[in-house]
Amino acid sequence: MENILQQIGIENYIYLSALLFCVGIFGVLYRRNAIVMFMSIEIMLNAVNLLLVAFSTYHQDAEGQVFVFFSMAVAAAEVAVGLAILVAIYRNLNNIDIDNLKKLKG
């Protein structure tokens, strides 16, 4: 079976994932809108998923892809809970800017 890594090389995927991961991190740091921050986290998770798939191919092993399923489940679960919290906040504050969440400090 033909393998894409023979042509592209695993390192490029690692770089791509790392960059995408960094973009996710950037998003989390850059934005204060909670929803967009969630999205950034999803980008991070996707970067990891991509990496896992790349490694799965690299090792020609299904486990990596299976792991991606778990990762997706986790992502879904997290988003569900995260959005629930967000909704609760929105009910109280009428916005979702996390800079408003500074009551707890010191």
């Binding site: 998770l45 990762s71 629930a84 906040i89």
Partner: protein, 463 residues
């Protein structure tokens, strides 16, 4: 393995009980169930003792492994959960309808925690930590009308998810380097020494993710805010069960995979340990909110516990002892905090004024719990620190022991702030009766604390 299944089943039973309007039975059944699970756990332990020393029992393609370490910690988690569940009905008496949810979530959380210490595969580990985390996100935010609770939940969730991302990245890299998620397979690769360097990067990422979970400096910022904002019982859960579960998992991971790490890794761990101890303790000095103070205290204890990495093969039992001592003292302290601050709406120290006169028993329990955390003999916290220091000295790291000692001194400063409030200030409010469960949990846990102080070998010899 059986314990894991039983606990998940128990959680579902809780949910079902609510459907069948058996609300009153939930807590007793859960506690009895947990005791039964504890029995299962003991049985598991006994089976292990039949085997050759050092061997482990693997289940389901090495997904779940039961060894002394995992079983011992599972037992500790179960005991803690029993206490936490026992505290629930009084704590949630305003929101009885949701009691089943709370109890079920705690049980699932326990399942996650057990998965974290008895995994044989990173997938189990990852799922365990996520179950634990998500359960805690929910619990932290479980007072939707309370803006503080919202904030706590949001902060915890955002940062937790972020940390999960990094942790996952680490797992991916380890997988990339070794081609497997199975810890023993990873160990086999790692021991050959010719794995790619991503492996170490993965280990570091994993470490960072777990350092976040145990709230070590500089990944600790969430802890005080979240502890303060969460409902007190959740704080109790976080500071006891969640913290030691993360620590235990961390230790297990590192012990099972971290063969031949670069020397600078241990330097990082010691720097983090020192920073955690110092910043945690120093900042705790200025706190006026008890939960917040305990959060910083927890940060410093995380620092102490990190010292086990100086000699992982020898320190499993010591970590277990330390975790048990810390968590049980924490439960006792929180039982009193729940009692005192239950209907006050905040956890400021002045709420504790005059407790020594109003309720000497609870005051004594809290005093003992704090002294235990501060490391005063005969309470188990002292022995924990003593064993830890002893082993660390054994590895020759005298400097960090000195730092730890200085930190123990600093910690007395804030533990005593609370004690002073209890014994020297006059009470502001009138005396309130102690809910029987609070009292029982407080007294039993402090008795356990003293007992394991007097017979440390009971725990030390478990593994």
């Amino acid at each position: 393995m059986n314990t894991l299944i039983a606990i998940a089943g128990l959680g579902i039973i809780c949910l079902i009980a609510e459907i069948f309007n058996l609300r009153k039975a939930i807590v007793p059944v859960t506690i009895i169930g947990l005791l039964a699970v504890l029995g299962l756990n003991v049985a598991e332990y006994n089976e292990l003792t039949q085997l050759a020393p050092g061997s482990k029992r693997a289940f389901y393609n090495n997904m779940v492994v039961s060894d002394f370490y995992g079983v011992a910690f599972s037992g500790l988690f179960i005991v803690l959960t029993i206490f936490l569940v026992a505290l629930s009905p009084d704590f949630h008496k305003e929101r009885k309808a949701k009691l089943s949810d709370f109890v079920a979530i705690k049980l699932f959380l326990l399942a996650g925690a057990i998965a974290m210490v008895s995994f044989g595969n990173l997938a189990m580990f990852f799922l365990g930590i996520e179950v634990l985390s998500i359960a805690l996100y929910v619990l932290a935010a479980s007072e939707p009308k309370n803006i503080k609770s919202n904030e706590a939940g949001m902060k915890y969730f955002l940062m937790g998810a972020f940390a999960s991302g990094i942790l996952l990245f680490g797992i991916a890299l380890i997988y990339g380097a070794t081609g497997s998620f199975d810890t023993s397979a990873i160990f086999d690769v790692a021991i050959t020494g010719n794995e790619p360097e991503w492996f170490f990067i993965g280990i570091v990422m994993l470490t960072v993710g777990l350092l976040f979970k145990i709230a070590a400096v500089p990944f600790h910022f969430w802890a005080p805010d979240v502890y303060e904002g969460s409902p007190a019982l959740t704080t109790a859960t976080m500071s006891t069960l969640a913290k030691i579960a993360a620590m235990a998992a961390f230790f297990k991971l590192m012990r099972s995979m971290n063969y031949q790490v670069p020397g600078s890794y241990i330097t990082i761990i010691s720097i983090v340990a020192i920073l955690s101890m110092t910043i945690g303790n120093l900042t705790a000095l200025k706190q006026t909110n008890v939960k917040r103070m305990l959060a910083f205290s927890g940060i410093s204890h995380a620092g102490f516990m990190l010292m086990v990495f100086f000699n992982p093969p020898a320190m499993g039992d010591i970590l277990f002892y330390y975790a048990a001592a810390y968590a049980i003292a924490g439960i006792a302290a929180f039982a009193v905090v729940l009692y005192v601050c239950g209907n006050k709406g905040n956890e400021e120290i002045h709420n504790f004024n005059g407790l020594g006169k109003n309720n000497p028993l609870m005051a004594a329990v809290l005093t003992c719990a704090l002294l235990s955390m501060g490391g005063i003999p005969i309470l188990s916290g002292f022995f924990a620190k003593f064993f830890l220091f002893n082993e660390v000295l054994h590895t020759g790291h005298i400097a960090i022991v000195i730092v730890a000692v200085i930190n123990s001194i600093i910690s007395i400063g804030y533990y005593f702030k609370l004690i002073l409030a209890m014994y020297t200030q006059d009470a502001t409010g009138e005396k309130q009766p102690v809910p029987i469960m609070y009292g029982a949990v407080a007294v039993i846990s402090i008795l356990i604390n003293i007992a394991i102080g007097l017979y440390p070998s009971v725990l030390l010899d478990l593994l």
